[in-house]
């Protein structure tokens, strides 16, 4: 039933890059073969006729409920910052975003 799915190392590396996962080159082959296996199995979806069928994104018909536009209780910076890896004053610190010139 399961069909063979071809997935190259380059494609696997590309998916890892899109997913922002730094995968060591030595581990890529294992991920490649496991993903190819699962993709080969889910290819069974092709055997189902879905002509004229609309996608179903949620099991319940939910309409977007809007909250009243009134300020409520909110968390303090202090409460939120207990989880921040690096803080400077009122800010969460991150590494330099812009590359330095000549580097």
């Amino acid at each position: 039933m399961t069909e063979k799915h071809t997935l190259s190392i380059e494609e696997t590396a590309h998916v890892a890059k899109l997913a922002r996962l730094e995968i060591a080159p030595a581990k890529l082959e294992q991920y490649r073969s496991e993903l190819a296996n699962v993709l080969g199995h889910v290819a069974k979806l092709k055997s189902i006729n879905v002509d004229g069928i609309e996608p179903l994104t949620s099991p319940v018909d939910s309409t977007n409920r809007l909250a009243a536009d009134q300020p409520g209780a909110t968390l303090s910076l202090q409460e939120l910052f207990i989880n921040a890896p690096a803080v400077e004053g009122r800010f969460i610190a991150v590494p330099k975003v812009l590359a330095e010139e000549n580097s």
């Binding site: 890892a16 889910v42 979806l45 994104t57 989880n83 991150v94």
Partner: protein, 492 residues
Amino acid sequence: MSAPFTDAVSIGEAVRTGATTAEQVTKEFLSRAQKSNASLNAFHEIFESEAMEAARAVDAKVKAGKNPGPLAGVPMAVKDNLATKVGRTTCSSKMLEHYRSPFTATCVERLQAAGAVVIGKTNMDEFAMGSSTEHCAWGPVKNPWDTTRVPGGSSGGSAVAAAAGLCGFSLGSDTGGSIRQPASLCGCVGFKPTYGRVSRYGLVAFGSSLDQVGPFTRSVRDAALTYQVMAGLDDCDSTTADLAVEDPMKDLENPIAGLRVGVPKQYLSDANDAEVNECVNDALQRLQKLGATLVEVDLPLTDIGISTYYVIAPAEASGNLARFDGIRYGHRAALKTGESLDTLYSRSRAEGFGPEVQRRIMLGTYVLSSGYYDAYYGRALRVRRLIKAEFDNAFAKCDVIAGPASPSPAFKFGGMNDPLKMYLCDVYTVNTNIAGLPAISLPIGFAKDGARSLPIGLHLQAPAFADAKLLRAARMVEKLFPDLVRQAPDFS
């Protein structure tokens, strides 16, 4: 019946009437939880002082003649992907090893308001991805019936805590069977309510259109009561249904006259363990003797559920887990001079997430990526509509659909070392989430492995929002197995 194996309803009654105190009950369960952890590893954290304080507050209410709530002094264990102000909320992931939630999940708050006492957070498959609780950054959880076997997953710690009497009841989350399958493998009741019945506010998101919170209990009435306390509209979760919650306790003891039980031929497959099929058939025959009608229903899309689920769930997970970038909270990797912000994201995620989570994020990224979106994700969503329609048709002929929750009893550690093989175990539970239905697993017998007994559960599914009716049907099944001892053997 010894105290740890009474149910939550009995504990609440005993505390309210002064037959015992919340302090005494909490102390007893804390001691069992602590003693068990070396062998079972159900808990990541146990909150001794906070639990005792909460128990004393319940006792003070009883003394003052105030209503302490229906779950007065009942110790509860909480899956570690539900936010609690007390302790950490780690999702059993290094990514959130030190994460302290600034708020408590709505469902936990409602149970606390009803008198329940949080005694600890339970181990799980990382970010709820798994069916064995082997993918847990804090070590695997053991099945109390046989510690060489898995408890199921992803809510393994919560299932073990309820089944082994380490708490009055526990909470889990179910995205594709993560409550029902471990309940079946550990021998307790596991209930996944209709999608949108219980608030997901404070549940760390995995598959947002599939996730639902539910209880693990030692009786069906406990499942009904804890569900009743949690269910209903929550302003903090716009997917909670704006529909009155039917009282699940009112008619629980009254059998449903002329109950029609749907039996899909696809569910009693030869691929199941023989003992699983025997137990399910036995339960069905007993129901029939009781006056229920067995109705043959056809669910030909049962098998395609796995393919549908393992596209939709990873797709949603890859989006939901994009928030873990090492910036505002969670694990942040160290950078060398000159390395970019982009490397910070990628390295933090690679260091913080375990292999199964990375696999599913990549799978989700692939099926959503340009060129593959329509072929995988778009198609899976169309098949999803067909699966839901198939259930609708079946429920025109029956009240509940019955079958096994898992094709086999608990398997050995490492027994499903290939990811795809593990995914295939979810065949009877994923379609419930795809269609948003309520479902429950409850113990109906055992498989024998030498001197060991391994629990087997019956899986009952019902139409959306027929939660109260489903619980009534489950209560009928529970009454058929009065000798079924829920006490796990001595695991220590």
